[in-house]
Symmetry: C2
Subunit: 471 residues, 2 copies
Amino acid sequence: MAKAPVLTPQAEDFPRWYQDVISKAELADNGPVRGTMVIRPYGYGLWERMQSEIDARIKAAGARNAYFPLFIPQSYMVKEAEHVEGFAPELAVVTHGGGKQLEEPAVVRPTSEMIINDYFAKWVQSYRDLPLLINQWANVVRWEMRPRVFLRTTEFLWQEGHTAHATYEDARDYAARIHREVYADFMVNVLAVDVVLGRKSPAERFAGAINTLTLEGMMRDGKALQMGTSHELGQNFARAFDTRYLSKEGSRELVWQTSWGSSTRMVGGLIMTHGDDNGLRVPPRLAPVQAVVLAVKDDEAVLAKVRELGAALGAAGIRAEVDDRTDTPFGRRAVDWELKGVPVRVEIGPRDLAEGTAMLARRIPGGKEPVSIEQLPKLLPTVLEEDQALLLRQSRELREGRTRDVQTIEEAVEVATRGGWARIPWAELGAEGEQRLAKDAVSVRCLVAEDGSVPESDDAPGTLAIVGRSY
Amino acid sequence: MAKAPVLTPQAEDFPRWYQDVISKAELADNGPVRGTMVIRPYGYGLWERMQSEIDARIKAAGARNAYFPLFIPQSYMVKEAEHVEGFAPELAVVTHGGGKQLEEPAVVRPTSEMIINDYFAKWVQSYRDLPLLINQWANVVRWEMRPRVFLRTTEFLWQEGHTAHATYEDARDYAARIHREVYADFMVNVLAVDVVLGRKSPAERFAGAINTLTLEGMMRDGKALQMGTSHELGQNFARAFDTRYLSKEGSRELVWQTSWGSSTRMVGGLIMTHGDDNGLRVPPRLAPVQAVVLAVKDDEAVLAKVRELGAALGAAGIRAEVDDRTDTPFGRRAVDWELKGVPVRVEIGPRDLAEGTAMLARRIPGGKEPVSIEQLPKLLPTVLEEDQALLLRQSRELREGRTRDVQTIEEAVEVATRGGWARIPWAELGAEGEQRLAKDAVSVRCLVAEDGSVPESDDAPGTLAIVGRSY
């Protein structure tokens, strides 16, 4: 079956390939206000699966969901100096409401530290109220000069966690727990992205944080994508809002805080980690549709069998869909499912049916072979787990193959500009070297220890900087 | 155990009782921008359960979730005349973004008809694309002059469904299906609110609709709350956006549309339908926590048993929580769970333990009795279903007891101002009578047929108007 070359090849123009996939796989459209996006049902289905997997992990870590207002009085934004400076250039401001000019303009939340801390200061009274572990699923707005769908949009969807603790250690450990048990576990084991876990250099930290933990994924063009972050806020916001608790000993102490977030940007990361010239490839554990059963022709026996098999796969715990739209040519439908990256296609035509077989097309390794229809409900769970593992292996091989150990800044720039990551001793690079990298649009993605673990401080001996270009 | 009178009694001041419950049960706080609210974890837990129940029903009706931008260019708002007029006074407007004045101000969505129809016009090409069934979970903003938490807030959370169909009949049937299979099924069988299903009078219709189906609940003060609506939009928006499909016969036809929504307002409805002078009463099928197991004292054997029972109830499919916070006095914790309306409290102290029993306190019928701890995992599912049924029966009895059949407008006003609903022949009332009612702040909640079904038109013979005061 000859296929129309619907996508720009990755090797020819990666950014255009990315836009093509988003459009042809019907993931998203641009919104009418610059930098906004419309997430179409298939793209939103990916996000819903991400949400449900992350939400379960957040709840397992003891946090509970809540909801804070979209609008923040402009005066709130000045309470924590560094934080304000970080967000001021990106704010959207509401000046009119209900037909009148507002007495005080309201900012559309770019993140919710400011408003949440206002309530934390009221809710936290005693040590009994700690730790206070809150998460919010919400839309946020940051005005973007160079928007790109999913990666950098004026409005995006995310979860933001906000916590308050009695001690520094408890806050530090909780930020690390979220980093590892929520984000890394999800990204590695569900998204199949072999992320690097590290800490941000002081220059790259979140505005107002004393430490930012990050997860960096390598995209297929060798650039980095920050996939999620978990911040230790120290007592910066506690001081700004005077958030104190009565200790067991009767003294009034400032709390220690964390915040952490992951967003629809992960959909972009998924596309750029696993996609190929034929479209998306969705990891089976994430896939909203893991298997699609296609009727090749409008034939009564075929349609009956396709529906029967769809139900049998569903009963076997597989997220299966039936494609019986035989008024659309089969080839077009097959290409469409391939573009959408559904892991497995099961194709049944009259000839297959006569032999009790179906064509099994696997999107991830590629290839097509006849299999017994009866065996499919038993066979597919194994196939899907194999393909899940394959995607993670490919992600790891890409990253390892494109990462070089270097000793000088010049070498680091060269590796990064050719499309890869350089690992360079942080003592060699330092804040000055970081500024030098910036001239070539290269940045420190994160700091890691020699054994690959997360360093406990910026100046721990043997700390390495991972350096690259990024989205 | 004597209880502190923490709530204003309903009979004394119902609106104040409502505010007290919201505050004492930690459901929500007022936000800093007028009319906004902070939904606290327990309140949000109620909303999450509503979301998951409604979402499952929406998906069963074939619709898929998507996400459209928060910001709508101001110029879009003028496309459908009636719709614009309906929403203009409530709009919040963003005039500045990224530090600059915007060339075109953006409206914060009050509902998404305008932006969604813009995309429907692009996505719908052929009859094969129909029906197009989309739902969105989102926040919306309508500037409120008289805000009240959950009932009428400047920002609220909701789902809004938007669909396009090839024929009038298909759209009409889908709006009715959502009304019945999504909203009524959820409200009656999960929320235990004995809603009346009807159609809105022409004056009460959604701006831009040709028919609005509604679900009206009677609150404990005899006022009505509109709990959800499903609209037939006819071809009004299709004409405004020129949304056409190529029919099988090759002609280009306008689509027929519906939209439908339900919101965090339902949390207010839940409170005012089931709450009593001791706090909330949450229907077991909705309850995020169906049973709480309390350790009466800080005793090792008690704590072990409480945790063991919590796990056993969880294994029996009950949403159970363990309360082992013995550094807070037992009486205070018991009152707190009562305020929060958790259906069942299981209290275990050293004496109970010695006898192998626990005190079972049922929030809904009230009362407390000793039961065998071992029997609880088997007993509770039945108890919870009984209490679910009891709440629905009480909701029905309230509504039936406070509804009167009347023949004149004067009688209708009298019934409504005393705190009840009047049922009056629509032919008797009509649009003129409706204006007369408005002078006494009374309105037509909906039109129903004599047999209680939804009338097929406004002027169907025998149509009755249900008339009352409302939130």
